[in-house]
Symmetry: C2
Subunit: 133 residues, 2 copies
Amino acid sequence: MLKKQNHRMTRQRKVILEELKKVKTHPGADEIYAMVRKRIPRISLGTVYRNLVVLSELKEIQTIEHVGTLKRFDGTPENHYHIRCVKCGRLDDAPMEIETYLEKKVRRYTDYAVVGHRLEFIGHCSECAKGCL
Amino acid sequence: MLKKQNHRMTRQRKVILEELKKVKTHPGADEIYAMVRKRIPRISLGTVYRNLVVLSELKEIQTIEHVGTLKRFDGTPENHYHIRCVKCGRLDDAPMEIETYLEKKVRRYTDYAVVGHRLEFIGHCSECAKGCL
DNA sequence: GTACCTGCAAAGCTTTTGCAACTGG
DNA sequence: CCAGTTGCAAAAGCTTTGCAGGTAC
């Protein structure tokens, strides 16, 4: 049922991957577009996007801040963790206390002035888990 | 320099807040729009967005998946944590090992089938911290 | 040769904004 | 009264997609 995909290593794909491996920060698609354009001036933004998807599927790269990019709103203003269903996108509160020591731990090794953290669990909600049986 | 804001509790604002407090999950703006429209049919989406911003500022609600909603890409496919600068949006790897026990901990209290987690620290990068002096 | 890719441009979505009319305090 | 709000519609991002021509293998 899954169509087999024979991915080709085109020049565009290769350069995108190289540029992405080269930098330490995590550029957005537009920044990648700018970097790659220095080497392939006529590449299109669409090509960049399509290749980022393919490279993610191939596990060559990682897409951060995935799935739904739309914002969600929470009626309870206190900080707390969330748990998200990969299948249906549902978002619930995670039944767990805030782990403040995580910030202490990272502070020892970074030069950022850490002011907070966000933790999100990923899984299948009880509804969607049924379908996985 | 900061202009004083005298926020009014309009009917729209009130209903949006009520509806948001009412639900357990975390709806997106479009869902909130749908919920509120049942009570105020002629409310506009723009009003919903503007009020969500105001309510966030007033700390009445919380905006999840904040700041940059644009995706970012990472050349290293292994899972690791990130640290984000609130000021400039820069994203770096957090120098810290994966805390696998976090998942074990939350599994005890949730009916989700947990498959992973994402942790992101928030702070000021060394560049932006300079400006805070 | 042909399935996979590319560039280009148009379309899609979510979110923001300009504006004139309206309203809470 | 009048700064803050609203509805409407247009604009503004970022991302996806249709298409016809190109290319890796």
